[in-house]
Every structure is written in structure tokens, then in C-alpha cells.
């Protein structure tokens, strides 16, 4: 089997096992760390897909900022070593797992029976991306021209999220 395929299988396996362990861990700190493992493997997958910029911000923003924020909050909440709530009542847990299995099979069925990918092709073949100067160049150009409006809206979203988060989290008078 080709190297890329082998690498993909390795990353996918680790990512999925780590994801399941996120759910099964009793200690939320462990969950956060398994989450980190998932994210790093997803970032590796992005590299395989030649999305280098996304891979880097997956590490910097998702793992480096968001997960660290999670860790802070987990630590702040850790109120002692008492056992933390894990699963819902067994009946509900089993129902949820069944839902999950049904969901996966349906999604897999969709993937395998549809001829996906007959859609409109874009102009950004690897050759053209390389001609423009690489992934970051090409992505940046599109982000600031074609997707200018969503970009600006995202900035408003970040502003209001910051204002809201500070209001909620701060201790006051």
C-alpha cells in the first residue's frame, strides 16, 4: 500500500481511538489530553491533504488556544478529587450508543452509494496553487477577495464573543 494511505490509516486510527477515550475518561484532564491527541492527528491529516495552513492553525488555534482554555477551566473547576459524573443512566447510554452506530452506518452508506464528487470543479489544482506561491498565498488571496464579507463578519463575531465572555466570567463588585 502506498505511503500516504498507510499514514492516513495510522493517523485516523489514533485520532478515532483518542476520540473515544475522550468520552470514556473519568478525569476531565485526561479527556482534554486525549482531545489534544485527536487534534494533532487531524492536523497531520490536513498535511496529507496538502492543506498546510489549516494544519498549522489547527495546532496553534485549536490545540494551542482553545484546548488550553479548556484545560484552564477544567483546572478551575477541579474542586477536589471527588469522582466526577461519567455516564448517564445505563439505559440512556446504551440508547445513545445505538443512535451513534445507526448514524455511522447511515453516513457510511451515503458515502459508499453516492457518486460523490461530480460537483463543480474549482480552478485551484495543485499546479495552480504552486504557481501562485503555495498554499498560504493562494488561500490568503481568496480569503481577502472572494470571501471578504464572511471575513469581516467573523471579526464582529470575535468581538462580541470577547465582550460576552469577559462579562460572564469576570468577578465583579
Amino acid at each position: 500500500m502506498e505511503l500516504h494511505s498507510l499514514l492516513f490509516l495510522a493517523f485516523a486510527a489514533v485520532a478515532l481511538i483518542a476520540a473515544v477515550l475522550v468520552l470514556l475518561s473519568r478525569n476531565p484532564v485526561h479527556s482534554v489530553l486525549f482531545m489534544l491527541l485527536t487534534f494533532v492527528n487531524v492536523a497531520a491529516m490536513f498535511v496529507l491533504l496538502q492543506a498546510e495552513f489549516i494544519a498549522v492553525i489547527q495546532i496553534l488555534v485549536y490545540s494551542g488556544a482553545i484546548l488550553v482554555l479548556f484545560l484552564f477551566v477544567v483546572m478551575l473547576l477541579a474542586g477536589g478529587e471527588r469522582p466526577l459524573p461519567v455516564l448517564n443512566q445505563p439505559l440512556q447510554a446504551r440508547a445513545a450508543v445505538i443512535v451513534g452506530l445507526v448514524l455511522v452506518s447511515e453516513l457510511a452508506l451515503v458515502v459508499l452509494t453516492s457518486t460523490v464528487g461530480g460537483g463543480r470543479r474549482g480552478p485551484d489544482s495543485p499546479e495552480r496553487i504552486a504557481a501562485v506561491g503555495g498554499n498560504i498565498e493562494a488561500l490568503g488571496r481568496q480569503l481577502y477577495t472572494t470571501w471578504l464579507l464572511p471575513f469581516e463578519i467573523a471579526s464582529v463575531l470575535l468581538l462580541v464573543a470577547a465582550v460576552g465572555a469577559i462579562y460572564l466570567a469576570k468577578e465583579d463588585l
Binding site: 447511515e106 453516513l107 452508506l109 451515503v110 458515502v111 452509494t113 453516492s114 457518486t115 460523490v116 464528487g117 461530480g118 460537483g119 463543480r120 470543479r121 474549482g122 488571496r141 481577502y144 477577495t145 472572494t146 470571501w147 471578504l148 464579507l149 464572511p150 463578519i153 467573523a154 464582529v156 463575531l157 468581538l159 462580541v160 464573543a161 465582550v163 460576552g164 465572555a165 462579562y167 460572564l168
Partner: protein, 483 residues
């Protein structure tokens, strides 16, 4: 190195710019002039919202414009929802003022967050591309999580915010997965290109169906459709009542704007797939929302369940849409605007009572008319409107929805809806009886709430006036859908 800018029509996005500027001005005032008088903030917010409304109305005169490389469509549809959510926001500012001052809640964050949420709704109504729509939905939702938890010293506010946030984030992820599949199958995120692809049908059908289901489910959460309604009673009851007043009407309008545009402009070719789904969901939603409301003893929670019921009625309209029966969609738009006046008003009166030291259980409603005639009358009008009583705007709202069902050949659905409304009248009448017939049990203190009174008066007047003059509104809605 030259990077070519796309064609930008700034006037088309002027409402969004105006709202962003308003929010920024509010924040700047608090940074540079923190000791300014409290009355400045609501006035600045209202001024900003009025300017935005001015832009929206000015845009009404123009032809539809697609700009920013297909991300934004400024047409009558977006301006209709612009008017709707801006009215909701302005009324919300009016009724919130006294609560904020009474409880010494920080005003600037409240208004800034409120304005940003409204901006998100305008984006949702004008988005012509999946990315913009997703960002609009998020910009609308994330501030409302904050607003729900705004009374952060009260446990129920925090809990409501928590539940709303978790389910909201969950539904956003589902919506996103639907958008992912839509993009993957069609190769584009633009609504017009998606529509032309879907028209071809073909071997990707299971995937397209999946994408649609996921997107409907994701947006279904936001409008509180069954079975995605679980968060609504807790979030509505836990949030400060003035926030509930705004959320229940404005978020619903924004989410419906997204849903209507998505289904009628991006996926019209899949009508035969989404219509049966919407029919089923609408029936479940009407039934569960209204029946559960009957069992409630707290009026605030009762109105939350009734809110679910009203979503059901609106979904009937949407389900009945087709190119030949645009009343299906225009009835939804009409209902959304009517709902702003009635429901925001109803919650507003509850907030007024709370400011006066009252509560929101049924017992607190006793003899309200005797104690405070104007408040009792206002609440009476709003309840009659929600019930669908003649002379209020609630009646044409329901009639148009059911009429669209008849026109689509589904008279049975109209009859079912009518029957459910009749049964639902029970819980409205129960409160009405207490307002007018019972003896008052609780005393009311009396802080002065001038802006609140103004807001409620506007709502009540609109409910009655437009109950009679509903034709211009319907025309507006029809033009909006036709654009």
C-alpha cells in the same frame, strides 16, 4: 503584487455596517467616557438602530443586488427581515431599560451584545452563500447565549444559558455538517449554484438528501421545532424576561429567514423531499408545543411552550410553499412580524410585572386589570393575538398559514391546525380569565418605567392596528418572497 478586489456594493451591506458601528460606539463610549449618564446607552442604541432601519428602508427601493462575490444578496426578502428584527431590537431596548437600571446590570455590554445579535440576524437573512449563512447564524446565536446568562448572579439564568449553549453548539455542528456535504456534492457554497446543481438530480442523491436533512435539523433547533425543542422551555424561563422577549421573536425570525431562503432559493429542486419532512415536523411541533403549554402553571414557561407551538404553525406555511403557492412562504414572513408585536409584548408585560415586584405564576396574574388597567389590557391584547382572535394581527397570521395549506391541496392540514389552535385557546383563556375576573392577590410596587410603557404601547397598538390593516403587510411579505 496586485490582488484584485471583487466588486463591492457597500450600500447593500450598509445595515450591517451601521450595526457594527453602533456596537463599536457603545463600547467606545464606555472606554472613553465611563461616567456618562446611564440614559446615554439606550439612546445611542436606539439611534443606531434607527439609522440602520433607515438604510434598510432605503434599500427597499432598489433592485435585488448580489455582491461581495455572491456572498450577500440585498433584496426585498432581506429588507423585510431587516425591518422585522430591527423592530424587535428597538422594542427590546425600550423594555429592557428599566430592568437594567433596577438591577444595576451593566448596560453597555447588554446593548452591544444585543446589537451584534441583531446584526447576525440581518446577515442570516441576506446571506447568499453557505459560509456567510453559517457565520450569520453563529453571530445571531452566540450573543444570545450570553444574553440568556446575563443575570449571572441567578442560578436559573446560568443554567438556562448552559443548556442553550450546549444544544446551540450541537445544532451548529449538525448544520455545518449538512453544509459540508452540500459543498462536497455540488462543488459550490453559493445558493444559486447549489440550486442549479440540485436541479440535475443524479447519482449523488443519497448524499444530497443527507445534506438537506442535516441542515434542516440544525436550523430546526434554532426555531425550536420538535424534536429539537428541548432547550426552549429552560432557556426561555431561565433567561431574564426581557431577554426572552427579544430571543423568542428575533432569533425565530432570523432562523426562519435562513430556513426559508435556504429551502426556497438554494434547494427548491428538492421540494418533494423536504415537504413531507416539514409536514411531519410541523404537526409534531404544533401538537407538542400547544399541549405541553396547557399543563404549565408558570406563565413564562407556558409562553415558552406556546412559542414552540407557534413555530409549528409557521412550519405549516413553509411546508406548503411551491413556486405556484408563494403564500406558503409569505405567510411565514407575515407571521414572523406579527409574532414580534404579540410575543415580545406578552413577555414585556411579564417583565413589567417582575419589575414591580410581581412574579410570573398564574396566581400573580389575578386581577391585574383591576390593579393596573393598562398592563392588564395590554396583556389581554397580546394573549388574544397569540390565540388568533379577530381584530388582532394574530388572526390574519394564522389564516394565511392555513390558507396556504388549502391552496396547496392539503386542506386536512389546515383543519388540523385550526383544531389545535382552538384547543390551545384554553391556556390563553385561562390567563385572560385571571387577568380580568379574579381578585388581585399580590400588591405591586411602582417604580416608573417610561420606556417600557412606551414599548408595550407600541406593541399593543401594532397588534390591533395591523389586525385591521394587514393587507399592506401581506403585500410587503409577498413582494419579499417574490424577489
Amino acid at each position: 503584487m496586485q490582488v484584485p478586489l471583487p466588486s463591492i456594493d457597500l450600500f447593500a451591506v450598509s445595515p450591517l455596517i451601521a450595526m457594527t458601528v453602533t456596537a463599536s460606539v457603545l463600547l467606545l463610549i464606555t472606554i472613553f467616557a465611563p461616567r456618562v449618564r446611564g440614559a446615554v446607552y439606550p439612546l445611542v442604541t436606539l439611534a443606531g438602530l434607527l439609522v440602520t432601519l433607515g438604510f434598510v428602508l432605503a434599500l427597499l427601493a432598489r433592485e435585488p443586488v448580489v455582491t461581495f462575490s455572491g456572498s450577500w444578496r440585498a433584496d426585498q426578502f432581506s429588507q423585510y427581515f431587516g425591518v422585522t428584527v430591527l423592530l424587535a431590537a428597538m422594542l427590546a431596548v425600550l423594555i429592557s431599560d428599566s430592568w437594567l437600571r433596577l438591577h444595576q446590570v451593566s448596560q453597555v455590554e447588554y446593548y452591544a451584545v444585543l446589537v451584534c445579535s441583531t446584526a447576525g440576524m440581518i446577515v442570516s437573512a441576506s446571506a447568499y452563500d453557505l459560509m456567510t449563512l453559517f457565520l450569520g447564524i453563529e453571530l445571531m446565536s452566540v450573543p444570545t447565549y450570553v444574553l440568556t446568562g446575563f443575570a449571572k448572579h441567578r442560578r436559573e439564568s446560568n443554567e438556562g444559558a448552559m443548556k442553550y449553549f450546549l444544544l446551540g453548539a450541537f445544532s451548529s455542528a449538525i448544520l455545518l455538517y449538512g453544509m459540508t456535504w452540500t459543498y462536497g456534492v455540488t462543488g459550490s457554497t453559493r445558493f444559486d449554484q447549489i440550486a442549479s446543481f440540485a436541479a440535475q438530480g443524479g447519482a449523488a442523491r443519497p448524499a444530497v438528501l443527507l445534506a438537506m436533512l442535516l441542515m434542516v435539523a440544525g436550523l430546526g433547533f434554532k426555531v425550536a421545532a420538535v424534536p429539537f425543542h428541548q432547550w426552549t422551555p429552560d432557556a426561555y424561563q431561565g433567561a431574564p424576561t426581557v431577554v426572552t422577549a427579544f430571543m423568542s421573536v428575533a432569533v425565530k425570525a432570523g432562523a426562519f429567514a435562513a430556513l426559508v431562503r435556504l429551502l426556497t432559493q438554494a434547494l427548491p429542486g428538492m421540494l418533494d423531499d423536504w415537504r413531507p419532512i416539514l409536514i411531519v415536523i410541523s404537526i409534531l411541533t404544533m401538537l407538542i408545543g400547544n399541549l405541553a403549554a396547557i399543563a404549565q402553571t408558570d406563565v413564562k414557561r407556558m409562553l415558552a411552550y406556546s412559542s414552540i407551538g407557534h413555530t409549528g404553525f409557521m412550519l405549516v406555511g413553509l411546508a406548503m410553499w411551491s413556486r405556484d403557492n408563494t403564500l406558503g412562504a409569505s405567510s411565514v414572513l407575515f407571521y414572523a412580524l406579527a409574532y414580534v408585536f404579540m410575543n415580545l409584548g406578552a413577555f414585556g408585560v411579564l417583565a413589567w410585572m417582575e419589575n414591580h415586584g410581581g412574579g410570573t405564576t398564574l396566581e400573580h396574574m389575578d386581577g391585574l386589570f383591576a390593579r393596573a388597567p393598562a398592563a392588564g389590557l395590554a396583556l389581554g391584547i397580546f394573549l388574544l393575538g397569540l390565540m388568533g382572535f379577530p381584530l388582532t394581527i394574530g388572526l390574519p397570521a394564522k389564516v394565511f398559514v392555513f390558507l396556504s395549506a388549502v391552496r396547496a391541496g392539503h386542506t386536512w392540514l389546515a383543519v388540523l391546525g385550526f383544531l389545535i389552535s382552538a384547543v390551545a385557546a384554553v391556556y390563553y383563556l385561562r390567563v385572560l380569565a385571571r387577568l380580568f375576573a379574579y381578585e388581585p392577590r399580590y400588591a405591586l410596587a411602582s417604580p416608573r418605567q417610561p420606556l417600557m410603557v412606551l414599548g408595550l404601547a407600541i406593541c399593543a397598538t401594532a397588534t390591533v392596528v395591523f389586525g385591521l390593516l394587514f393587507v399592506p403587510l401581506l403585500d410587503f411579505a409577498e413582494r419579499a418572497v417574490g424577489s
